[in-house]
């Protein structure tokens, strides 16, 4: 297990390295490095100074090494717009995005798992069939479109929920959170609902399929023959088997939630890193783009690593094969 973990860690570091190379190539070969590092309105003198400072006159490999060094130090240059280190700007927006993603995952699991269990246990009931048909819609509806419809209905037509901003936040651990105030929660509602619909459909279908697969198994019959209660059967024997794919999916979908925050945050003016990156792309604030890319790479590699470890711990068969 330790060997496996070590291998897996090395692999993750390698992936990050490869990604730095890809980003470097994207920025320096496909894009124009001067315009990426230097604000378009800089004068000739400043230009020359920065070219020298960033070693743009050096050969590519040595440029890559200094890029790598910068990446390791978290130095991606200053944002043109904010005039602050790009990394710092992005990190300050990260909690808002995380809050959205965590809330959406929680909601998806809390709704998706029970619905899936129900649909799996009573596949022929009207409600289960209705939910299954509904989940096709949930899969199909584009996120931004769903956001618009929700705003149109809940904000414009009913006037119940705010359509933009984060509302009142409370500082906790030095970071502001919307979780803790009513105003904050009401602002969370629509963006979280938007992000959750797809995940609810996905989790519901997975859990349903899992239940349908586990129920006819011989070990469920044997467990019933032991005189276990229905609760124990469902919540231990069935659920423990289903949890393995579900936890895997939750981990991977957490990553996609962070990715899709780009859309929801733009629509709901949620001050997270997703909205930040769209704004940065629109004004070509390139240091921000590079910093964002590297952060995303880091987040995804970490998520994949955690999912792999969780998967390994949860499934005894996999765990032992990796000993």
């Amino acid at each position: 297990m330790t060997t496996w973990l070590a291998q897996r860690l090395v692999q993750s570091v390698f992936v990050v390295l490869v990604m730095t190379a890809i980003v470097f190539v994207g920025v320096n070969v496909i894009g124009d490095p001067v315009s990426i590092l230097i604000s378009p309105d800089a004068n000739q003198q400043e230009r020359a100074r920065i070219v020298a400072e960033f070693g743009l006159d050096q050969p590519l490999w040595s440029q890559y090494l200094s890029f790598l060094k910068g990446t390791l130090q978290g130095n991606f240059g200053n944002s043109f717009v904010y005039g602050m280190p790009a990394l710092q700007v992005i990190l300050s927006r990260m909690p808002a995005t995380m809050e959205l993603a965590i809330a959406a995952i929680l909601l998806s699991v809390l709704i998706g798992v029970p619905l899936g269990l129900y649909a799996g246990l009573r596949p022929h009931s009207f409600f289960a069939k209705f939910m299954m048909a509904g989940s096709i819609l949930g899969f199909s509806v584009p996120l931004f479109w769903l956001a618009l419809i929700l705003i149109m209905f809940f904000s414009v037509y009913l006037g119940w929920l705010p359509a933009s901003g984060r509302g009142q936040t409370v500082d906790f651990l030095g970071i502001g959170w919307s979780f803790f105030t009513w105003d904050g929660l009401s602002h969370l509602c629509l963006p979280v609902l938007t992000l959750s619909i797809f995940k609810i459909s996905l989790i519901m279908r997975m859990v349903r399929a899992g239940v349908r697969e586990v129920l006819p198994q011989e070990y469920i019959k044997f467990a019933r023959a032991k005189g276990l209660s229905r609760q124990r059967l469902l919540y231990v024997h069935v659920l423990k088997n289903i949890m393995i794919p579900v936890v895997t999916i939750i981990g991977l979908e957490f990553g996609s939630l962070i990715a899709f925050s780009v859309v929801t945050e733009s629509i709901f003016s949620w001050p997270g890193m997703g909205k930040l990156i769209i704004d940065s792309i629109n004004v070509l604030d390139r240091p921000m783009i590079v910093a964002y890319l590297m952060i995303i790479v880091f987040i995804f590699v970490t998520i994949n690593l955690i999912v792999d470890i969780l998967y390994t711990t949860l499934d005894p068969r996999v765990r032992l094969s990796r000993d």
């Binding site: 199909s140 509806v141 931004f144 419809i149 859309v263």
Partner: protein, 309 residues
Amino acid sequence: MSAHASSASRSEQDEKLPITETPVRRMVREFMASPLAVSGLVVLSVLSLLAIFGPFIVPQNPYDLMQLDIMDSQLEPGAQSVAGMTYWLGTDDQGRDMLSGIIYGLRTSLGVGVISALVAALIGTSIGIYAAYAGGRTENLIMRVIDLQLSFPTILVALMILAFMGRGVMNVILALIIVEWSTYARTARGVALVERRKEYIEAAESLVIPRWRVLFKHLLPNCLPPLIVIATVQVGRSITLEATLSFLGLGVPITEPSLGLLISNGYQYMLSGKYWISLYPGIMLLVIIVAINLVGDQLRDVVNPRRQA
């Protein structure tokens, strides 16, 4: 009645059709068994025809600025134009007939989706089959690249490509191809590996038939069904992705608006109650994607019967 007779009559009930049925016929029959999937296919065909023949049908060329009248801007559905024409779905902020705009938007959306899916399929399949046949390090390397790419959400990858290249129909198509080829490659490799082990490929190879003929005559027909399933689903995903990118202002240019861009244009008016500018293109978008997914879902079950519920 003997035991033989009774068991024979049973198996006839199980499979009503004789064994001579070809796989394609079986798939068609099973596909037709789902009314939802069939209606999805009908809707899809109608919309495709609408997109292809759109320019001959539309009441107005929405991109000919000469035909637009700013006096007609933001009219409600069913309103009359200054010139006496009826705007069944209203007009946008430029005084453009929404119905015409939507049909043109449909052209762009479907076009981008289908072209990118087809090109990605071509490239991805070739790479996948190549990997399966090359084996060893080449195969390993290709698979690693595919895994790496699939571990990042497509929207982010596409976003970044467009951030560096700028907006434009061709750039969007290129970005979609880059994010999509890997799915095809992985599937094609999987199928190719299975097919490779089968005897007829060996037999064909031992007859010293040129490799490319083995590929095209034997391998491709077997790879095709699963690839068609993926391509169907991917067209839906491409359209969604393109719409999302365009909505964010990073996709197609304003001169060739897709459904996503139309929705984006109407968004600012929505909060003031002018819902139709966003809503109708949105409904059209949803209808296409649902239709594609219904067809794709059923195709998947038909091609791969094990997955049936």
